[in-house]
């Protein structure tokens, strides 16, 4: 058996480069995403399989970055709350001395949360003001993540477009091939029946 024949018969999974996930991620979840794409696209041939694997990689990274994006905003929530409270309270205000404590317990203690919301309401503000401040603080990181996300989404779409285009070309090739076979058979039948074949264009 030649080297070419050997690689032709080898299962595709062993030929493609191996991929792993982060220590905090689940391999099963990654496989589920990949299997769902395989189920949906039903790859035919090695090129389809590579493109499906590529889409699975991009999709997985998109999911990871989206999760992190939300996480990054959440991480700046406490600082954002602190900054808002500092901006709103005067030096003499009773809340000024409790800012650290309030921003620490805001997320765990219902009483503290009520107190903060009451204070915010005095200035016609609510929880969305904290969120807006958190997003403002992490805008630079969010913009970087968005650039990565845009690139990954473009790559995933390109892979899917490739599959669709190649399949379209394949279908056209099949159709043309079938037409050629039918035409030649019709011609052969007509020839057998004594009809003269039409003059070539």
């Amino acid at each position: 058996m030649t080297k070419r024949d050997e690689s032709m018969q080898e299962p595709t999974a062993t030929l493609l480069p191996a991929l792993g996930v982060l220590i905090t991620e689940s391999v099963d979840d990654f496989n589920r995403v990949r299997d769902a794409l395989i189920q949906e696209i039903k790859p035919r041939g090695i090129i389809d399989e590579i493109l499906v694997a590529d889409s699975a990689q991009s999709t997985w990274e998109i999911l990871r970055l989206r999760r992190c994006k939300a996480g990054i905003v959440n991480l700046t929530f406490r600082d954002a709350l602190k900054r808002i409270l500092r901006n709103l309270s005067d030096r003499g205000s009773e809340i000024y001395n409790d800012i650290d404590e309030l921003s620490y317990y805001y997320f765990t203690n219902r009483k503290m949360k009520k107190r903060v919301l009451r204070f915010l309401a005095e200035f016609q503000l609510d929880e969305s003001a904290i969120e807006a401040e958190a997003i403002r603080n992490s805008a630079e990181d969010l913009e970087r993540i968005d650039r990565l996300l845009a690139s990954l989404e473009a790559r995933r779409n390109k892979a899917l477009r490739c599959i669709a285009e190649f399949r379209g070309d394949f279908a056209r090739r099949l159709r043309d091939g079938a037409n050629r076979i039918i035409d030649s058979e019709v011609l052969a039948l007509e020839h057998q029946q004594g009809k003269a074949p039409p003059a070539a264009a």
Binding site: S7, M8, C68, L148, R172
Partner: protein, 186 residues
């Protein structure tokens, strides 16, 4: 503008050093501009080269044309490059996830600080070097938050890697389109 005298001096000096002569020296110098090897699409190990070739032959299928095989090789190399970037990203994120940063914490911020420390030491003044901040201690303890923070800290590196990833992906699709055009033409 370089004068005739300067040019002559340059030629004289160049004759004195013509680069490394030993095999080991030449090998070392060949890696002078090597930074991370991501732009080099050459297979970096014999095992990888073999795997790339196997995948290329599978992509080329029954076709015996050298052009098709060459496009298939480009596609296979690009696919392995993409996998390499994937693993690099994982390694970077995990390092920051565990240690809080990519670089080892430095004792001194500048050369000036180092010399100030040794000057004080020479004068006999006991000068304890500053203790570096443990970056891992500044990481959130909850797993999801810690991962988000790790990704945030490693974002500049991820953006750099994205450049190489885009290049490899573009090569992959370019070769697939070329292979498809050939298949349509045949």
């Amino acid at each position: 503008m370089t004068t005739e005298r300067q040019a002559a001096a340059n030629r004289r000096n160049a004759r004195k050093s013509t680069g490394p002569r030993s095999g080991a020296g030449k090998k070392r110098a060949s890696r002078n501009s090597y930074y991370h090897g991501l732009t080099a699409t050459m297979a970096t190990s014999a095992e990888r080269a073999e795997r790339v070739e196997k995948l290329a032959r599978k992509i080329a299928g029954d076709s015996k044309g050298t052009v098709i095989l060459e496009w298939a090789r480009t596609a296979a190399r690009a696919d392995f490059d993409l996998a390499q970037v994937w693993w690099l990203k994982i390694a970077l994120i995990e390092r920051v996830f565990l240690f809080g940063e990519l670089e080892r914490p430095k004792l001194f911020k500048s050369v000036r600080q180092v010399s100030a420390f040794f000057n004080a030491f020479d004068r006999g003044e006991l000068n304890i070097p500053p203790t570096p901040v443990d970056a891992a201690a500044t990481m959130p303890s909850e797993e999801g938050d810690r991962l988000a923070e790790a990704v945030r800290r490693v974002l500049p590196e991820l953006l750099k890697l994205n450049r190489y990833e885009r290049r490899a992906a573009s090569l992959l699709y370019k070769s697939f389109y070329a292979l498809n055009r050939r298949a349509v033409a045949e």
